[in-house]
Amino acid sequence: MLLYVFYILSAITLGTAFLTVISKNAIHSAIYLVVCFFSLAGHYLLFNAQFLAVVHIIVYAGAIMVLLLFTLMLMNLNNEDETSKPLYTKFAAVISAGLLCLVLIAALRKALPENIEYVNSGTDFQSIKVLGKVLLNEYAVPFEFASVLLLVSMIGAVLISKKEEKI
């Protein structure tokens, strides 16, 4: 049962991801991407990582996608205005991405044993409580440091967008 769910979800994930990158219309891409994110959230749920799934939805589907869509709308880019490229560049893209895929998977297949034993010990490791503890004890420094990161990006975004005034 779960296996089928996994396959379906995986198919959705990959399919929508693929559609995202090949859709001519950027809005369509965005929609597909949202679907992709939801399917990923489904995967998280399969892992029993409910908190993560929720956060994922909020951050990606809620924040990032909205930001992207907003920008798209702002620029009025909903219709196709991407100049058509020569065929060979597309060809090169397909070849190289395919090669990357092939090589990466081959490497992984070579590295991974056929069946990795998984033992479920039943310990709680992904409830909000545990995550919170880990995040704010062990990972307090990176947690705080992430704020610096966000601060930088915030200042940066403002810096680039704001008009310079001479004094």
Partner: protein, 105 residues
Amino acid sequence: MNILETVGINNYIMLSALLFCIGAFGLLYRRNAIIMFMSIEIMLNAVNLLLVAFSSYHEDPSGQVFVFFTMAVAAAEVAVGLAILVSVFRNIGNIDIDNLKNLKG
């Protein structure tokens, strides 16, 4: 009952590798900056999926904690990226990366 018992970690690794490659493909294939951003998001999400899977596999919360950081990074990148994109758009009127070929040689 855990998904890994049924599906196995291998499949998840493969899945995220494929997803990652789709992201890379998008980056190569498209010249629309926004869609390239999306491709990058796909790549980051592939990694997130991998992290979550490994977190489950090791029954270790730090993987999931790391996902939060990844999300923060993704958000930050998108914010900055969009800011740059907007200024590009303001200057040249579109967001086709192929128009950005002034710097070369």
